[in-house]
């Protein structure tokens, strides 16, 4: 379900924009030119952009202007890319990252 604000009482209506296809965790989504990864995914109802590397707890955007790094994702294989600062491009492949092993921590995930 789309949450885009096409019409705004003061800012006016959005002009025609090019639609782009991109992937997030293997599923295909549509973005419009000028949308960030975070914006396009939120418009599609996706709030969880990654999981905490140690606990697996879900995380999404916090500051939306690049300060906090809470929205870090992998883009086309490159890690630690900020979803709030990165515009979607055609065919972009975004993944959320996963829980990492903590072999030196007592009671950690390493087997």
């Amino acid at each position: 379900m789309s949450q885009r604000i096409f019409h705004h009482p003061v800012l006016g209506s959005m002009e025609e924009r090019t639609a782009l296809q991109f992937q997030f965790n293997g599923a295909v989504y549509t973005a419009y030119e000028g949308e960030t990864i975070a914006g396009a995914l939120l418009a599609a109802g996706v709030r969880t952009l990654r999981v905490h590397e140690e606990t697996g707890a879900p995380r999404g955007i916090y500051c939306n202007i690049g300060h906090c790094y809470e929205c870090r994702v992998h883009v086309d294989g490159i890690p630690t890319v900020r979803a709030c600062m990165t515009l979607v491009t055609e065919g972009m492949c975004v993944t959320a990252g996963s829980v990492l092993p903590t072999p030196l921590k007592k009671g950690g995930h390493a087997k």
């Binding site: 885009r4 949308e35 975070a38 939120l42 952009l49 995380r59 955007i61 916090y62 939306n64 202007i65």
Partner: protein, 401 residues
């Protein structure tokens, strides 16, 4: 090599670049965001005279003017180091290194984080995040939300959300803690809100605020603050309600709240759950000054200006050779003040290069900063002028050493 490097393409950086380029300097701006404008992007409010301040339009105007003067603007570039090399500044960025003899740091402000239990759940964001998502990305942050933190910025942005069809259920206080400090105490919030009550559209609130001049009247008002909140600027403000915890499993489902005493302590037996699919945390703004610290600039801690600010004089020059600052890095004020400070910085750099044809341009620009500050409809802090004075004295003392 450019004569001037500017870090930050917000109102201060763009205005500085325009002023310097007009005097014949070659200017390059770098900014981390994907488009120029900085915190102008997303600003949208109605001034008391009924005219809308549209930050997006202001940003587009400054951007066009700068480009027309030949200013090079590189977006999506992060600066991670600044070093002095011979008689120049070298900035290290994600796109390589650049050098110039004059450097302006105009990095603006960042939002203070106020930890609330449950704040890492998806759907919890800073109030500024919601502003950018709504007005720049044009995506709704949710259907129904709660704003934690009552200040001039959070009330203004909550109105912007409503304008875009996003329902804000309540504005409430953060839980009382070492971090939230005054922001968790109802009587402190009442005092700060009264400073801006003259802007309220409702004549009842405007008149009421005049009657509330004395401290005991303010205490009385807090003590009898209606449990349903009041609609101030048409926003549901609950000064006697605080968040205890944000709840949800995979994302925000609601906020657990309690009524609080005038001192901010939760009253047992008054807990409630407000259903919500998003939460905004509003902790206020602080100067974003790390790069000035890396450059070796001395600082002052001035609460009236929002925190630690790099020392600078009325020419926006720091005590370090060729290093200038402008905008919210020098103290939290409106975008209009940032723009006028940027013009001063740009002209100062032109003067330092021997390219300023007419020195009166600079003195006029300095007067303009004071004029804009005096005419500001919103005073972010009552002691801004005194804070500015103090920073100027400290800068002079530092330079005289």
């Amino acid at each position: 090599m450019n004569d001037v490097l500017v870090i930050g393409a917000g109102p201060a950086g763009l205005s500085a670049a325009i002023a310097a380029a007009r005097q014949g300097l070659s200017v390059k701006i770098v900014d981390e965001f994907y488009r120029p404008g900085g915190r102008l992007l997303g600003q949208l409010h109605e001034e008391p005279d009924g005219v809308w301040w549209n930050g997006l339009a202001e940003a587009a105007r400054l951007d066009q003017e700068a480009r027309a003067l030949g200013v090079n603007i590189s977006c999506g570039v992060s600066v991670y180091d600044i070093a002095r090399c011979d008689d120049r500044w070298r900035i290290s960025t994600t796109e390589g290194e650049w050098e110039s003899s004059l450097l302006l740091i105009a990095t603006g402000a960042s939002e203070a984080a106020v930890p609330v239990p449950g704040w890492t759940l998806p759907g919890v964001m800073s109030i500024g995040a919601a502003q950018v998502m709504t007005n720049v990305q044009r995506v709704r942050v949710g259907k129904k939300g709660v704003v934690i933190g009552v200040n001039i910025l959070s009330v203004a942005i909550a109105r912007e959300l409503q304008l875009a069809g996003v329902h804000v259920e309540q504005l409430i206080l953060p839980p009382l803690s070492e971090v939230s400090g005054k922001a968790g105490r109802p009587h402190e919030i009442m005092r700060s809100l009264l400073r801006v009550a003259h802007l309220a559209p409702s004549p009842v609130i405007r008149l009421g605020s005049k009657l509330m001049g004395s401290a005991w009247m303010q205490r009385l008002a807090v003590a009898f603050f209606p449990s349903k909140g009041v609609r101030m600027w048409d926003m549901p403000i609950h000064l006697r309600t605080a968040a205890l915890e944000i709840v949800g499993t995979s994302q925000v489902e609601g906020v657990r709240t309690a009524r609080v005493t005038p001192e901010g302590l939760p009253i047992p037996g008054t807990e409630q759950l407000i259903p919500a699919d998003f939460v905004c945390i509003a902790g206020g703004l602080s100067p974003l000054a790390e790069l000035a610290a890396i450059a070796g600039c001395p600082f002052a801690y001035v609460p009236a200006l929002g925190g630690h600010v790099p020392l600078h004089d009325e020419y926006m020059k720091t005590p370090l050779p060729g290093l200038y600052v402008a905008g919210n890095i020098t103290g939290i004020e409106s975008a209009r003040v940032a723009m006028s400070q940027g013009t001063v910085a740009g002209l100062s750099m032109a003067q330092a290069s021997g390219l300023l044809a007419d020195d009166s341009l600079l003195s006029q620009a300095q007067l303009q900063v004071k004029r804009v500050r005096q005419n500001a409809t919103i005073q972010f802090h009552p002691d801004i002028a005194a804070g500015r004075e103090l920073v100027g004295q400290m800068a002079a003392a530092w330079t005289a050493r």
